[in-house]
Symmetry: C2
Subunit: 451 residues, 2 copies
């Protein structure tokens, strides 16, 4: 028979077992962490009506969307988890309690040009809090606090959540009479990291057509840095010139104070006035998260406050605040950088029961006893030589082999072999389960990410 070459599409991540185990661990940590903060886990369809999904329309995103006909239906695959959330909240408005807190970890699709580290199918891990009409500023501090805790649980330490407030920026541009050019200015200022202040200034003057003194004002403002207290002190000097600015400053002060209350250390968050995010969407606090030693990766977790989640579906005013981890990309980068720990068990099981006799009853009972003690156990039933069995144990990287021969059956014990040290002990089934469980717990006590 002619064979079809088995292959995976470019831009689609498909992991080998050991890698997949690492990914599963990360996902489980995200699930558990989000749950701890009281978020409802949602699961919306991957396929939606194109009309619904593209209600906002326009932009780069639409070009990338996987869109197709099935029968008479014009369908599209979701390209983020925010639009499905907006749809969900508008559709089920009467059945939800607000604030509505939801998390969703799911695949999204973008037909981007394929390139290394870019994915067409990737996981996003989102949390959002949606208010009905109003939403307290406290939520704008809790969201980055959740990210801090989640990243910490993953084992990341060298990261910084950069916080800004769109009202500060809008207010600043208004007080300088630059509101109309704000979008253009922000896009230019965004290049600060890459090309430096002098070149940005030149662009502001030559291309954005600003007066040199105004361009300097912008650069002076963007250059404000220091501890969060110092930044806020510097910002206080702009107070009372613009109502929106003052409101933004009050919000920023509240957010930084609450972040302290939530126990987020100063080294993990910083006010950064250069951050703007999606220009036509966010209206208050905005976030980006960078890995301090890998700034080249860019933001691994971004979001912010918006005033109108579902304006394309409903007249209801639904403000919210949310953040999204680009999980597939984060995993890819961590893996490439060698930052995923190899100390945790990546084998599909903790114990491999190897019967050495024809009669399997005792081996089955042993496997059952181990499983009842919560030990992930594989029972090896193939009729192979001892050497082949041990080679399999090595190959899957199982930490413990449980050998069962005539002697063990007669004595009612299990021979537990530590595959790393080679040490072997004979124990009664219960004791063996305890022995393995303790060691497995110790092996898995570290973090998924090792910096």
């Amino acid at each position: 028979m002619a064979k079809v070459s088995p292959r995976t599409l470019s831009g689609f991540m498909e992991l080998l077992p050991a890698q997949q185990m690492k990914m599963e661990r990360m996902m489980q940590i995200l699930r558990d962490s989000y749950a701890l903060y009281g978020f409802t886990p949602l699961d919306t369809p991957i396929i939606e009506s194109a009309e619904v999904l593209l209600a906002k329309g326009g932009g780069e995103t639409e070009k990338q969307v996987y869109r197709f006909q099935k029968g008479d239906s014009d369908l599209a695959l979701r390209f983020d988890l925010t639009v499905p959330l907006a749809k969900y909240v508008a559709q089920h408005y009467g059945e939800l309690a607000f604030p509505f807190r939801r998390c969703q970890i799911g695949k999204v699709y973008r037909g981007e040009r394929a390139q290394r580290g870019r994915f067409r199918e990737f996981y996003q891990a989102d949390i959002d809090v949606i208010g009905d009409g109003k939403l307290d500023i406290l939520n704008e501090a809790e969201i980055p606090a959740i990210i801090y805790n989640t990243f910490t649980k993953l084992g990341l330490t060298k990261f910084k959540i950069r916080v800004n407030n769109r009202k500060l920026l809008n207010g600043f541009y208004a007080m300088n009479g630059m509101s109309e050019k704000a979008g253009e200015i922000m896009r230019t200022v965004d290049k600060l990291d890459k090309i430096g202040a002098e070149k940005v200034k030149a662009l502001l003057i030559d291309e954005v057509k600003m007066l040199p003194c105004k361009a300097e004002n912008v650069l002076d403002f963007m250059a404000i840095c220091g501890t969060n207290a110092e930044v806020i002190e510097a910002l206080e000097r702009y107070r009372c010139m613009d109502v929106t600015f003052d409101q933004g400053l009050d919000e920023l002060i509240a957010v930084t104070r609450y972040l302290r209350d939530f126990g987020v250390p100063e080294e993990n968050f910083a006010v950064d006035l250069t951050i703007a995010r999606g220009l036509d969407y966010y209206t208050g606090t905005v976030y980006e998260t960078v890995m301090s030693e890998h700034p080249e990766i860019g933001s691994v977790c971004s979001g912010g406050r918006y005033d109108n989640l579902a304006e394309y579906y409903t007249d209801k005013q639904l403000p919210g605040v949310g953040i999204s981890i680009g999980l597939t990309r984060l995993f890819y980068v961590l893996n490439e950088q060698g930052l995923l720990s190899d100390e945790l068990i990546t084998a599909p099981c903790d114990a491999l029961v190897l019967p050495m006799t024809e009669e399997l009853g005792f081996a089955v009972a042993a496997a059952t006893a181990l499983r009842n003690a919560g030990i992930r156990t594989q029972l090896y039933g193939e009729k192979k030589k001892f050497k082949a069995k041990m080679a399999y144990a090595d190959r899957i990287g199982v930490p413990f082999a449980v050998l069962i021969g005539e002697d063990e059956m007669n004595e009612g014990v299990l021979s537990v072999k530590d595959m790393k040290t080679g040490e072997q002990v004979k124990l009664a089934p219960d004791a063996a389960a305890q022995y393995i469980a303790q060691r497995v717990a110790a092996m898995n006590s570290g973090s998924v990410i090792k910096e």
Copy 2:
């Protein structure tokens, strides 16, 4: 602005929060149960090249596939998890250890005619064990044992795993000189449940053109029933007439013996000679699982032994055995029948911290203490009246409200209110955490499914 009507496509399940929590619980039980048996959790792309996905071609399935162009690529959405597994194993053959045990819980897509209880996007929860060239019969007993344990953990008791062996059927038809008509006969016999023995006999004679005595032979064979021992005893009478039959009988005897070793009670599995499953795929033991009090649902979990997983991709002989739970359909049916327990907590949090003061520092600290104790906690930050806050607590169905006013702050305690009984106690944060944790554990101690 003109609004787009927010809606979900027909045939796509989208659950409200409380329902989603029930689904999440089921999925977590499946994940944990599969892991306990040493299965690698795989995650393959939802989109594959159409050429790869449809390598087998033909049949009803192909008509239902979501297939579309993106750029130059002919793409399709996976319609099951078996074809992606075949692709994966063929593609990564050199990097896998055999037997390769994988589980996968993921969405699949079939553009079926929409009707009540039929889904176009639905979860399958699969386990498979793949051998390289050979695979021991033990695996054919372990697979239904895993399903027994998984269903039991879900809380199901009234279910029966029906087991048959294709070699028994093929051997029986061979010894009766009916091999060529075997497919037709099996399709007719499949109607036994619905139309009864007399009508099946008539069909066998009139349409399949069998001699009456042969048709009777078939019906006599299919009528074999009783305890598993009785069925096997009856089957022994056919021994030594056909090699394949004898092999099938030996396998069936081995499987039923191992099932006992694995601790599967007789009331939960039965040899049933009328079961055939996919005619051109399965070659040994086959399974179906029915809910005893809801036979109308049909099989909720099916599978079997196959000899050649990946023949469309590779010359390697890869026999395997697997089973699939149609999770979305199972959830739908259980929900419709009112079999999903309402006793377990379906709120997104266990504790809702309600600050009654402007100053939130103590409330934040309280929420942090509860979360550190593993309690899913929401901090309510909206500035609303007490009544509105309690109404919210009622609405989300949280079991415990944690009230924090001036008194509590001054005394350094939390007022914990049991939302069901109305009972309220003042406790130090640690004691409050312990109090809530114990009660939450008790509330969640039941099963997801209540028959």
